[in-house]
Symmetry: C2
Subunit: 383 residues, 2 copies
Amino acid sequence: MRILVLGGDGYLGWPTSMHFAAEGHDVLAVDNYLRRTIAQQTDSEALIPTPNLKKRAERFEAESGYEVDVEIGDCTNYRFMERIFKEFQPETVVHYAEQPSAPYSMMGFEEGKKTINNNLNATFNVIQAVKEHAPDCHIVKLGTMGEYGTPDIDIPEGWIEIEHNGRSDEFLFPRQTGSLYHTTKIMDTDLLWYYVRTFDLKVTDLMQGPVYGLSTPQADLHEDLSPNFHYDDIFGTAVNRFLVQAVAGVPLTVYGEGGQIRGYLNLNDTLQCVELAADNPVEPGDLRILNQYTETFSVNELAEQIQSVGNDMGLDVDIQHIDNPRDEPEDHYYNPTNTGLLELGLEPHYMTDEVVEGMLERVLEHEERIDEDKILPRVSWND
Amino acid sequence: MRILVLGGDGYLGWPTSMHFAAEGHDVLAVDNYLRRTIAQQTDSEALIPTPNLKKRAERFEAESGYEVDVEIGDCTNYRFMERIFKEFQPETVVHYAEQPSAPYSMMGFEEGKKTINNNLNATFNVIQAVKEHAPDCHIVKLGTMGEYGTPDIDIPEGWIEIEHNGRSDEFLFPRQTGSLYHTTKIMDTDLLWYYVRTFDLKVTDLMQGPVYGLSTPQADLHEDLSPNFHYDDIFGTAVNRFLVQAVAGVPLTVYGEGGQIRGYLNLNDTLQCVELAADNPVEPGDLRILNQYTETFSVNELAEQIQSVGNDMGLDVDIQHIDNPRDEPEDHYYNPTNTGLLELGLEPHYMTDEVVEGMLERVLEHEERIDEDKILPRVSWND
């Protein structure tokens, strides 16, 4: 299959590109290094240095014999996107090409504007390029579980039948998020759904929870092939922040009460999910929404597990609650569904103590590079 | 009250500016002539020539003694918007500054991109300018009934309580539209709602149906003060198209079956509604959604009324069904609610035969300027 990976330099994009190449697909990875640029501008560089995308692809070919083609360019530039689609004629496009940081989107006017314009224009360009130049191409779009927020009712997979005054109809589940970044993902879904039903595009929107992990069969071939590991307040997840804090000997900083529940998944399961989506395309005119996570737990549970495993490894791990820089419920109902990907064949890798230990060992290898100034929140939603 | 009208040169913006000025308010009307530019580019000029905004304001002051201040500039330019908000310190901002044509948004890539970027950036700039420079300012945003589309259940005013698996929660009504333009209005609402609940802004989102009419107390003072009357396929409404076709002696062109039902209102009622919203601001943190129309009827009913009145006036009016260039249901359930504005005091002006006769007479005065090439659809959703 010809698979185009937009955002191919990202935490998910690079492992996805290697994974599909190792499965024998023709892979073209596209990126403009927006994340690297923002990381540099906000002093949020990743813990483990990663070569640029072309160098990574060269290293990957040398180690594995598999090829990932690379194009450096901006997905918000339609002339560039048109050329890519015309020349490569993808059968599947995996669209990760978005500004992915919620705190960055809340920093100020320019960062918010960049987030809106980058994400909406990249998605609009993907839609238009498929419509004009590759109408049979299946769009696999990375959404986020954050689009749903934390409603007080069960979260289905994308769609809900609503009964009202004795009649009923089916709708996109009404979504309500916790940041401007997440709001742009809601907009993406609305945009895709409009073009799907009007122009018979084929789209799978993967509502993904926070992903953790650094080890994949391909990434493990060489240190240069490592996924990006961000532990900073801009691109880092709670998992990564806690891992680094455990290693650095500073308390794990739980935002607020720590009752925030999310659906998590292992990086290897992201690769499985995206592959399952690509291998099972939808019919023209269908928007399939799949909730992409394997288990839910609270921030407190996450901190306690990392504390427990860390202490067993001889680290001295404390937990500290700090003011929540975000505007989000800290004690809420959360009951999403995730059967769609399991039915397609997903075999989950859970966050076992062994998995946590493996991540801590990996961070320990780079302990000397930890910069504690990057860890604590520098962006507050309401200030 | 200091009232800032963004999009002050538009069909609604100019009458709104005159109306508030005549009520004794300080009015600043802002526009960048985007609609005039697009009208020229698409050969869609209005039937009645209108002087530019500065000239209209001069004429209005000469005729009425009331002043409308004018600034020509682009609401997607934040430096411009910041200056306006800092200098004028509006207590109410009426935000009409959007690309308002559904057919234009569907013409092609550039037109679609312009619609997304103009509408989202203008709305984001309004939000940011209020948040930074006029936090008590009440935002009165023009939405559209088109955001709801035509669901098979009753349409409430913005919010719906959803019961699901034995629990319930309140949500923004899940919206699903018929064009890219309408999709940008859904995005606007999501953007406003995020900033309202996170930063305690005050917003009223007016979900308006198609507006008709040329006569208001201020517009009637002088021909130069006329609202824009578009009968073309880009900016024209079905009402205006039928009025012009009746006068031109060509059949009224109903798109498809003609069973499309919408909620209509008189231009004078738009002025009332916007004034009622401005006079009754919401509390900080509230997004009030009001459905702004006074009566519903189908395209067939509309055509038949204009045919009947036209024939009584001695015109020879036929009706012809043509292929629908849009992708929309032509026979559907439609039961929206509109009690909110009535409870605030709206006194509706309905589309009586006398009102239709008045509009036909006005078009007859400009019969020689009718260009039939502008009337038939030049943009098809699916071609």
